[in-house]
Symmetry: C2
Subunit: 245 residues, 2 copies
């Protein structure tokens, strides 16, 4: 029996019609639910956006949540004088758009052309009303997100530039692996400015630090959007000191 037959045993024929654009499978928070929850199907909508587009802005009313199907997205917070902090980079399978007090807490912008799966959301209650399984998954994802955010606090508050950059590269590599990509010819879809604003550094420091790692033969850099991790162990040594990493 071919593998495809096994898969189709779990995904009833015709179910792909509703989520045709989506090849996330079990990476999606709604995996296996779009078929069973008509409420979820009713409120979803496919979107495509070009690179450098704004999905929504910090302070906008939260009317939708999103799952990233392909491409990459950044989430950022801005200070009135222009200082910026990127609070997350998103890759296929990640979702975003939960806000507090009915307002988005960050701006979401695309780093590349993306496809999104959008769910209209009058209130959080509405979207989860149809499925208790969905709510449970959302809660688990939020716990993971919060865990990740706390890691990032340690990085921002207590790590040196060198440690931050090494940690960043390894984080990208780990997440690439999780989505089924190779760990080492690493795709870096964000600019130096984005990296700087994510790590709490300046572009110059990011550039200098990457050059430093290159000179130590721990990485090579190809055209600003690709990095080879030549010595993962050494990088982990630098990034370590991290709590039970």
């Amino acid at each position: 029996m071919p593998v495809s037959a096994l898969v189709s045993a779990f995904v009833p024929a015709g179910s792909r019609m509703d989520c045709a654009c989506c090849d996330l499978d079990e990476r999606a928070f709604c995996a296996g639910l779009a078929q069973t929850s008509s409420a979820l199907r009713a409120i979803r909508h496919d979107m495509r956006m070009e690179a450098q587009a704004t999905v929504f802005r910090e302070g906008d009313a939260t009317d939708h949540i999103f799952t990233l199907v392909s491409g990459a997205v950044k989430l950022s917070k801005l200070m009135i004088d222009g200082r910026r902090q990127i609070v997350g980079f998103l890759f296929p399978g990640d979702f975003f758009g939960f806000g507090h007090n009915g307002l988005y807490g960050y701006t979401a912008e695309t780093l590349s052309p993306v496809t999104l799966c959008r769910f209209s959301l009058l209130s959080l209650d509405t979207v989860v009303a149809g499925s208790r399984e969905l709510e449970r998954r959302l809660l688990n994802r939020m716990i993971a997100e919060l865990s990740f955010a706390q890691e990032q606090m340690l990085l921002l508050g207590r790590m040196s530039a060198r440690e931050k950059v090494a940690h960043f590269l390894l984080m990208l590599s780990r997440r690439a692996t999780q989505r089924g990509d190779v760990p080492s010819p690493l795709s870096v879809p964000m600019s130096r400015l984005d990296i700087a604003d994510y790590l709490g550094l300046t572009i110059e420091t990011v550039s200098r630090t990457l050059t430093g790692l290159k000179k130590e033969r721990l990485i090579t850099i190809n055209g600003n959007t690709q990095v080879d991790l030549l010595d993962m162990q050494a990088l982990e040594q630098i990034a370590a000191g991290g709590c039970l990493c």
Copy 2:
């Protein structure tokens, strides 16, 4: 009809027997549910701990979640060389103890004598099985927590020492107000070291910055555990630049 009669209409007589130690009312995530959910009652347990005690350690298996009933708690992450980041201060009504992959992501220690309400938790599913309302509340709290964590990333990554300290004092004041305390003779139950590890600074810088604010007559300091905010507006001016604050 007195207000107390209205309240008792919603809180059946005898229900306080099970949560006698708890005067959190609607601040607790389980407010109104401990009466209706026998599952929740069955797994809860009251605890008292002295100051400077460890509730659990980063990396321990997650076997319980906690609601803080009285006192104050700090959550921290440690690096192998001793660098530390405090990822949260908790006050009555806050809950904590959610971990990722079955492990606590931070150490929880008491800042003062505390009373806790502990819920045993073989898995997250177990605790929420009895009440969909409970799950919904937990999700909403997690969203708020994540929002707060992202604020903190902006602080750690992009604010000056002065801005960090002003922001910290105002945050304490705002949370005191939320729990019904006065905003200004501010109780500061944590040490300078704890403040430093929360803001990504050193104790010396925290001390110098507080002295600076004192000299500008924006605050006064009484015995290291109490601060008067003399000019909230000026402090907000300093802390501002924050996203839509």
